[in-house]
Subunit: 235 residues, 2 copies
């Protein structure tokens, strides 16, 4: 019964918030009028209210109402009653910390398993994987665990970035980082480039958008998959 | 009695491992013949043995012997007996995890306080700050704490990278990440560009190398400091 969009980013260069994926979202959210938004990742540290305003403005273009979970007294009850859920980007550690602190992991897993449509972008996509151990974010808070929502049986690396061969910077490339991840973990990782997303529908997981994605499996050479590829055997 | 070098990187573009700083290290390590090396950060997942070989080769150019801590039965005793210590780069989470697991934090703090010269590069510099919450690394393991060695009363951001205005990538700039850090933490952060290092000598902390560094203080506009600046009031 799962119905999930796991998007690399909310915004692609040169266009507005969620613009690139609004057509897809019109279909995805066609049966719902209101979306429960979790603004916990607080990009650039903005407040829950400010963040919810931005999201509200974007969804009003497709006639959806947006309510921030912080406006409810009981966030667990808010999730149980939601008809659709969106978790946006920002800092994955801040987001994960808040989800654990408010005891929301189990409830989110339960409602999404029951078919409530879930949209994640960036940090909100990271937490759809098994753990947040392939986030690109700075660990500005210490969450009680790196375990995530496990909507898919692998890890997500959003905003996947190819090595820049002309760079003189000696920091690790994204590929090197994921290689290091596989020295300590054995689940696959999908590097989702900006503009790509996964659509999870029941047992099917399909890559969408115009770009290829990069798959990193334990002890295998990384490889590219094209848009439309079914990933339900990846684990 | 502290005597510490906190270097942004081990290697600058186009030159060999530690080459750019070897002259400085000749002076820094002038009274010691042997350096205890902690290869725990395992860059690209290389083994402790392999990593120690690389470091040994670099230090043999200035006639220093290098021994890996993993070759000792008791790492705490190894640190207590060391005449000089080097912790190299790699993954900060892996390094921090191993330091906590082997119960080395207190012993490292004690010997460095007593004047044993300590060199850190990259991950080995991150852990010289108050916490590892300003590392750039991927959180591939979950350490028992983000607390670090606190050799200086602020945080380090090594491999500091200026925003690339021509980039179309929507991931956060380093400055945005540190701004987000300051929504949850109030200690200063120093962004050390590759080729820069801090020399801590007793109560003095001086920026060295050819470049400026960027200082991020809580609730202040970030600013540049030039090489030679004394940072002993930064906290």
């Amino acid at each position: 019964m799962k119905n999930i969009i796991i998007a690399s980013t909310s915004t692609i260069h040169g266009s507005g918030y969620l613009d690139y994926i609004l057509d897809e979202l019109t279909v995805f959210f066609k049966d719902v009028k209101e979306i429960l938004f979790l603004p916990y990742a607080r990009p650039s540290g903005i407040s829950h209210d400010e963040y919810t305003k931005t999201v509200h403005a974007a969804f009003s273009k497709i006639n959806k109402n947006v309510k921030g979970i912080h406006t409810y007294e009981n966030p667990i009850e808010a999730i149980k009653k939601a008809k659709a859920i969106f978790i946006g980007g920002g800092n994955t550690f801040v987001l994960t910390n808040q989800l654990h602190k408010n005891n929301l992991i189990n409830t989110l897993q339960a409602v999404v398993k029951n078919g409530i449509p879930y949209l994640g972008t960036s940090a909100g996509s990271n937490i759809c994987g098994l753990t947040i151990k392939t986030t690109n974010d700075m660990p500005i808070v210490y969450p009680p665990s790196f375990n995530a929502l496990a909507f898919v049986p692998f890890n997500i690396n959003p905003h996947y970035l190819d090595p820049n061969k002309s760079s003189k910077h000696m920091g690790e490339t994204r590929e090197t980082r994921i290689k290091e991840f596989h020295n300590f973990n054995n689940q696959p990782v999908i590097g989702l480039r900006e503009g790509s997303w996964l659509h999870v529908k029941d047992d099917s997981i399909i890559l969408k958008g115009n770009l290829t994605a990069r798959i990193f499996e334990y002890n295998k050479i990384p490889y590219e998959i094209s848009s439309g590829t079914e990933l339900n055997h990846l684990k």
